[in-house]
C-alpha cells in the first residue's frame, strides 16, 4: 500500500519535472554548461603575462635577467618603453600587465657583489593575478641574485647552492579543471536537491494541491519519499555525468572506486534533500523558498566550501562558519576519491560530519513536516 502510494507520488513528480522545461533545463544543461565554463574558461593559472622592460643598463647581466623572466614561460616580452610616460601608457592601455625597470649600473653592481635592486611595476586592477606575478618575479630575481652572489664569492657561476625539486602529486600540471570538478558535483547536487525540492513542495502549497493531497490517506512518509526520490536519482545521474564528461574532456583521472563515489554523493544528497524539505516547511511562497535556499546552501557551497576560495586563507570567523557547510566535508571526500584514489575509510571524519548533518536536518525536517501535516 505504502509502495503504491509512494510510486504514485514519484511518478507524478517525474512527469511534472519532465513537463516543466525550465526545471529540466536547469537540472540537465546547467551542469554541463558550468563544467565547460569552469573547465575551459575559468583558469586560476596565470601565464603569458605581458611584460614591458625598461633596460637602463644594457649589460650582459640585465639581458640575462630579462631572459630569465621570458624563459620562465610565465612572461611574454611585449614592449620596451623609453621613459616613465611610456610606462604609464603601456599599463593604462593594458598592453603590459607588468613593467620591469632595470637601473643603470645594475650589471656592474651585481657582478661586484654590491646590493642593487630592480623595480617591478604591476597592474593591480586584478589583485589575484598581481599577487601571482609578484610571486613569480620574486622567485626569478632570488634565483638570479643567488647566482650573482655565488659568482662574486667563488668566481664562477656553478648555480645556486639550495634548490627545490617540486613534485606535484595527483594533478602534476596543476590544472584547475581537475580541482574544480569535485566542487562542481557538490554545487550541482546542492542546486538540484535543495532548490528544486524546496520549490516543488512550496509550489504545491501555493497552488493548493498540497491541501488536496493532505486530504488523502497518504501520510508524510510516502509523500516525502515519492517527492524526493526523482530528485535523488536526477542528482546522482547528474554527478556521475559530470565525472564522465570531465574524464573525456579534461582527462580527469577517476582513480577511486565508482561505488565509493556514489556512496559519498548519496550521503551528501540525503542531507541536501532533507535541507530542501526543511526550507519548504518554513517558506510559504516559492520566492521566499528560493531566497532561503540561495542564502543557506547555494552561496555557502560556492564560497565557503573550498570550492573556489581556499578555506585556509579565510578570516578566522569565516573558517568557523565553514564547519557547518556540508560541502566542505564533501569536497575533501570527493577530491580524495576522484584525484587520489583514496578509499572511503580514510575519510571517516568527513563522512561522520556529513552523516551528522543529514541526521540533524532530516530530524528537524520530519519534525516540522509532521507537525504541519496533522
Amino acid at each position: 500500500m505504502i509502495l503504491t502510494k509512494t510510486r504514485a507520488v514519484a511518478i507524478k513528480e517525474l512527469r511534472q519535472i519532465l513537463r516543466d522545461r525550465r526545471t529540466l533545463l536547469i537540472l540537465l544543461f546547467v551542469p554541463a554548461f558550468f563544467l565547460l565554463v569552469y573547465g575551459y574558461a575559468l583558469n586560476f593559472d596565470v601565464r603569458h603575462i605581458r611584460l614591458g622592460v625598461q633596460d637602463n643598463d644594457r649589460s650582459t647581466s640585465s639581458r640575462e635577467l630579462v631572459s630569465a623572466f621570458v624563459n620562465s614561460g610565465y612572461f611574454d616580452f611585449v614592449a620596451e618603453p623609453a621613459n616613465p610616460a611610456a610606462i604609464d601608457a603601456l599599463i593604462d592601455r593594458n598592453d603590459a600587465r607588468a613593467v620591469l625597470v632595470i637601473p643603470a649600473r645594475f650589471g656592474a653592481d651585481a657582478r661586484s657583489g654590491r646590493p642593487t635592486m630592480v623595480q617591478l611595476i604591476i597592474n593591480g586592477d586584478n589583485a589575484n593575478s598581481a599577487t601571482t606575478v609578484i610571486g613569480y618575479a620574486l622567485g626569478l630575481v632570488a634565483a638570479q641574485s643567488a647566482k650573482y652572489e655565488l659568482e662574486a664569492r667563488v668566481g664562477s657561476g656553478t648555480g645556486p647552492l639550495l634548490t627545490i625539486e617540486p613534485r606535484v602529486w595527483y594533478n602534476p600540471e596543476l590544472r584547475s579543471a581537475l580541482f574544480l570538478v569535485p566542487g562542481l558535483i557538490a554545487y550541482i547536487a546542492m542546486l538540484t536537491a535543495v532548490v528544486s525540492t524546496s520549490l516543488s513542495v512550496v509550489r504545491e502549497k501555493e497552488v493548493g494541491t498540497m491541501e488536496q493531497v493532505r486530504m488523502a490517506p497518504l501520510g508524510p512518509v510516502p509523500y516525502v519519499l515519492g517527492k524526493t526520490l526523482p530528485y535523488f536519482v536526477i542528482s546522482l545521474a547528474s554527478a556521475t555525468g559530470i565525472v564522465l564528461v570531465a574524464m573525456v574532456l579534461f582527462d580527469l583521472p577517476m582513480r577511486g572506486s565508482w561505488l565509493g563515489l556514489i556512496a559519498a554523493v548519496s550521503l551528501f544528497l540525503v542531507g541536501a534533500l532533507a535541507f530542501g524539505l526543511l526550507i519548504s516547511t518554513i517558506a510559504e511562497t516559492q520566492q521566499v523558498a528560493f531566497q532561503i535556499a540561495l542564502l543557506t546552501s547555494y552561496l555557502p557551497t560556492l564560497m565557503l566550501s573550498g570550492f573556489i576560495f581556499p578555506i585556509s586563507s579565510m578570516p578566522a570567523f569565516l573558517q568557523l562558519v565553514t564547519y557547518v557547510v556540508p560541502a566542505r566535508y564533501f569536497l575533501v571526500v570527493l577530491r580524495g576519491i576522484v584525484l587520489k584514489g583514496a578509499s572511503l575509510t580514510l575519510f571517516w571524519r568527513e563522512l561522520g560530519a556529513l552523516s551528522v548533518f543529514a541526521l540533524v536536518v532530516l530530524g528537524l525536517a520530519s519534525l516540522r513536516l509532521h507537525r504541519q501535516w496533522t
Binding site: M1, T4, K5, R7, A8, V9, I11, K12, R15, Q16, R19, D20, V207, G208, T209, E211, Q212, V213, R214, M215, A216, P217, L218, G219, P222, T374
Partner: protein
C-alpha cells in the same frame, strides 16, 4: 452504493451502521479559535447517509474551517466530530480513506494530463491494477472527459475541471463527500450538470456536505445549515427555514423609484424590515399588519408614483437576510462586521 461488495470490506463499523442508521457526519459542539478570533463557535449538526447537506454563509463565516475540522486537517479547539464512525480529532488518518474532498480551487495538477491526474489521485488513495482501471473509466464517463484523457488539465475550461476534480475526489468511492464551494467560477450550464452529478451521488447513498454562497443552489439540498459569524444561525429543510416567515407576509414592491419606496416603507409602522432584490423591494410585514393593498395604497400616495405589489413566497435569500440581520455581530466576527463596530468609535475621537 454503486459498488456494495467493495464497501463491505472497508470497515466493520459501517456494517454496524447499516443496522442502526448512524449519521455519516456527527458534529457536536465544534469550536475553533485562532488566537482570540472564534472562527467556529459551538456548531452541532448531523448528516445522514444519502443526504445532501448544504452549508450556507457569507465569506469568512466559518464554513471552510468547519470542513477542515471534519476532514481531520484542523484540530477542533473543543467539541467532537464523528465522521464515518470515527472520532476525527482523535484519529484523523483513519477518517481520510472514508471521505472525498473537493475544494473551490479544484486542486488538480494543471501541468499533468487528465489521465495522469486520475492515476495520481487513485494512487495516493491506494488504488492500483483492475480497480484503478475500472474507477478511471467511471470517472472519465461521469465527467464526460472520454476522448480528452491526454489533454492538459490546465487547458480545460472550468466546468470540465470541476467535474474532473469531483471525479478525483470520489475515485476511492468514499461514503462521505465534502464539497467546499464547488461551483465557484463555473458557468450556469456546468453548474446544473454538476448538481445532477451530486444528486446521483446522494441517491447512491453517499452523504454530501456542500458549502456554497449561491442561495439558488441551496434549493438542491435536502437540509441546510446557515452559519453566521461562526455560529449556526438556522438548520432545517428549505421549507422549515422558510417557516420563519409564518405570519409575516412578504410583499414584493416594484416601482420606478425603488430607493425612495424603500425609505417610505421603512418608515411605516406595519413594515418590519425591507431589503432590495434586484429592481424590486421586499418588505416584511408585521403579523399585525393590515392587508397588502392597504400598504400599497399608502405607499403610492406618499411617493407619488404608480406602485405594483404582490405577496410573494419567501425565498432562501429572504431567510438568509432575515437571519443575518437578526444575529447581532459579536466582538469576534468577520472583518467587515468588526470594522463596522470600530469605525464609529474612531469618528468620535476625531470629531469632538
Amino acid at each position: 452504493m454503486s459498488n456494495p461488495d467493495d464497501l463491505s470490506r472497508t470497515s466493520a463499523d459501517r456494517t454496524a451502521g447499516r443496522e442502526l442508521p448512524a449519521p455519516a457526519i456527527d458534529a457536536r459542539h465544534l469550536s475553533r479559535r485562532f488566537g482570540s478570533f472564534v472562527a467556529v463557535d459551538d456548531v452541532s449538526f448531523q448528516v445522514r447517509p444519502g443526504e445532501i447537506f448544504g452549508f450556507l454563509g457569507s465569506n469568512g463565516a466559518g464554513k471552510s474551517t468547519t470542513i477542515r475540522m471534519l476532514c481531520g486537517l484542523l484540530r477542533p479547539s473543543s467539541g467532537t466530530a464523528i465522521v464515518g464512525g470515527i472520532d476525527v480529532g482523535r484519529d484523523p488518518e483513519r477518517v481520510k480513506p472514508r471521505i472525498g474532498y473537493m475544494s473551490q480551487r479544484f486542486s488538480l495538477y494543471e501541468r499533468l494530463t487528465v489521465d495522469q491526474n486520475i492515476v495520481f489521485f487513485g494512487g495516493i488513495y491506494g488504488l492500483s491494477g483492475a480497480r484503478l482501471a475500472e474507477r478511471r473509466a467511471f470517472v472519465l464517463e461521469m465527467a464526460g472527459l472520454r476522448g480528452r484523457e491526454h489533454a492538459l488539465t490546465g487547458s480545460l475550461s472550468g466546468g470540465w475541471r470541476q467535474r474532473l476534480a469531483l471525479g478525483c475526489a470520489i475515485l476511492h468511492q468514499p461514503p462521505i463527500v465534502f464539497l467546499d464551494e464547488p461551483t465557484g467560477g463555473v458557468d450556469p450550464l456546468s453548474r446544473r450538470r454538476f448538481w445532477r452529478l451530486i444528486d446521483t451521488l446522494s441517491r447512491s447513498g453517499v452523504a454530501v456536505l456542500v458549502t456554497t454562497h449561491y442561495l439558488d443552489e441551496a434549493e438542491h439540498c435536502h437540509r441546510i445549515a446557515m452559519i453566521q459569524a461562526g455560529k449556526l444561525a438556522a438548520l432545517g429543510t428549505v421549507a422549515e427555514l422558510k417557516g420563519i416567515f409564518a405570519g409575516r407576509p412578504i410583499v414584493e414592491v416594484r416601482s420606478s423609484k425603488p430607493v425612495e419606496a424603500m425609505r417610505v416603507l421603512e418608515a411605516m409602522p406595519e413594515v418590519e424590515k425591507t431589503s432590495i432584490f434586484g429592481t424590486a423591494v421586499h418588505a416584511v410585514l408585521r403579523p399585525s399588519a393590515p392587508d397588502v393593498d392597504a400598504v400599497t395604497r399608502k405607499l403610492s400616495s406618499q411617493i407619488d408614483d404608480p406602485v405594483e405589489s404582490a405577496l410573494v413566497e419567501p425565498s432562501l435569500e429572504d431567510v438568509f437576510l432575515d437571519l443575518v440581520m437578526r444575529t447581532p455581530a459579536p466582538g469576534a466576527s468577520p472583518p467587515n462586521a468588526a470594522q463596522g463596530v470600530s469605525a464609529p468609535r474612531g469618528d468620535r475621537g476625531d470629531n469632538p
